[in-house]
């Protein structure tokens, strides 16, 4: 079995540590030998968000000696539903600071190494070099491929986890003889086919389930015990509460870990994933209206038809009393709209409604505008009582 265990040099445990880890020490699968391996181990967590929160807490509690965390984000209120390493009081603080405090609260013996940076092709290999295991808790395709390639090139196992709504995936990738992420998915989806914003959201406990699976795999790699998720993918369906396993094979023609690799150094992953700067696809330029102008015109009694292109469950959170047609239904419901009237389309932030305006203009609507910033802008600048989500 490919394991990091033999590379880790054990130290000794103090009496305080013996007491703290006694429930590990009395089980033969860990024991003194395993606990010393955990103490000597260095694990790098990419991201201190949904997946990073539970896994960093459990790795710290288990006695992993050195925990590196790469993150450059700040805690906000929408994080608290799932990112349990951060508390309400931490909103506005750097995630690194908040995560370190929580880790130290659980186990002050852990050496926390903070890297306040975006993981890039320029820094990944140098960062990974000092660690034994990399745990990927990132949230976008460019970084997924970057972590994978850097793990293959640096020879570090990549403990992988990913989540979407009620579903998760976990595996152990880029071990010496095992498959890597590119063996599994040679190419990322083009940005246009990534699930749209209307289907967003994640069940708060799901990153807990998947992150703890990642933590379990990291600890097994360090201990050199059990059957790691190498060559297997675990699929988690929280709604059906079903766990399924798929076989994952090493691709001999893999461009990064195959027999004749064509990728021998890190590349531009934004470009590889088809993203060129303008990540938010506000690419279609459409006629716009600012929240202040809309408010003025409504107050003046102008005849304006407000078209809300969000989903019905979003309408329930807050609305501008508009007519609801979700963006996905617009093509088949366009006949419900009167092209002779002034129409202002809006969504949460203005991205979906820009697409709606673009679609309507192509359908011959000339008097249709996009509310810039959507209900978020309305809440910020017109009606602070309107909740933001």
């Amino acid at each position: 079995m490919a394991t990091v265990a033999e590379n880790i040099q054990p130290a000794t445990l103090s009496n305080e540590e013996v007491l703290r880890y006694s429930r590990h020490l009395i089980m033969p699968e860990v024991g003194m030998e395993g606990q010393l391996k955990l103490k000597a181990a260095k694990v790098l967590c990419i991201g201190a968000g949904g997946l990073g929160s539970p896994l960093a807490l459990y790795l710290a509690a288990a006695g992993v000696g050195t925990l590196g965390i790469v993150d450059f984000d700040v805690v906000d209120f929408t994080n608290l539903q799932r990112q349990i390493i951060h508390s309400t009081d931490d909103v506005g603080r750097k995630k690194l600071e908040s995560a370190e405090e929580s880790i130290k609260g659980i186990n002050p013996l852990v050496d926390v190494r903070k890297f306040e940076t975006k993981l890039t092709s320029d820094n990944a290999l140098a960062l990974f070099r000092d660690f034994d295991v990399v745990v990927d808790g990132t949230d976008n395709f460019p970084t997924r491929y970057l972590v994978n390639d850097a793990c293959v090139l640096a020879g570090k196992p990549n403990v992988y986890g990913s989540i979407f709504r009620f579903e998760g995936q976990a595996s152990v990738l880029a071990t010496k003889d095992g498959p890597c992420y590119r063996c599994w998915y040679p190419e990322p989806p083009p940005p246009g086919l990534v699930p749209s914003c209307a289907e967003g959201g994640v069940l708060g406990i799901l990153p807990g389930l998947v992150g703890v699976i990642q933590a379990t795999e990291a600890i097994k790699l360090i201990l050199g015990k059990g059957e790691p998720l190498i060559g297997r993918v675990l699929l988690v369906d929280a709604l059906g509460m079903k766990f399924r396993e798929l076989r994952l094979r090493k691709n001999p023609d893999c461009p990064v870990c195959g027999k004749h690799p064509t990728i021998t150094q890190l590349i531009d992953y934004q470009e590889f994933c088809g993203i060129r700067g303008e990540e938010a696809p506000a690419t279609t330029k459409v006629p716009e209206i600012q929240a202040e102008e809309l408010k003025q015109r409504l107050d003046a009694g102008d005849d304006i038809f407000i078209l809300d292109v969000r989903e019905p469950h979003e309408y329930q959170i807050c609305n501008l009393n508009g007519y609801l047609i979700p963006l996905g239904d617009l093509p088949k419901r366009v006949n419900e709209l009167d092209s002779s009237r002034d129409i202002v389309a809006h969504c949460r932030s203005g991205v979906r409604s820009a697409k709606a305006v673009d679609f309507l203009r192509q359908a011959g609507f000339r008097k249709v505008k996009n509310l810039v910033g959507g209900v978020l802008a309305w809440s910020d600048r017109i009606d602070p009582k309107m909740p933001k989500y």
Partner: protein
Amino acid sequence: MRILIPTPLRPYAAKQDAVEVPAKTVGEALSGLTSQYSDLRRHLYTDDGKLRAFVNVYLNDEDIRYLQKENTPVRDGDTLSIVPSIAGGGCRCLGGCCCCPR
């Protein structure tokens, strides 16, 4: 046979998590599925009719790329799983990830 539809693709399959189709091969099963739900086609196939590289199809627990791809024979009790890549995890909430609405 049964085809399991993953969460990201359910909006294109009338929100169902599984669809039954009669088929003798993986290819027949997938074309049966996409003829019932035509919106799924562009998510599964490229314009020139090839299965997309980021959509993996498994017959039971095996990747069809390591069987006979779309010519792989199937039996009634088999399950076909469509497993697209998903990237979510940390969530930086810049609206650019898959768990944040825009």
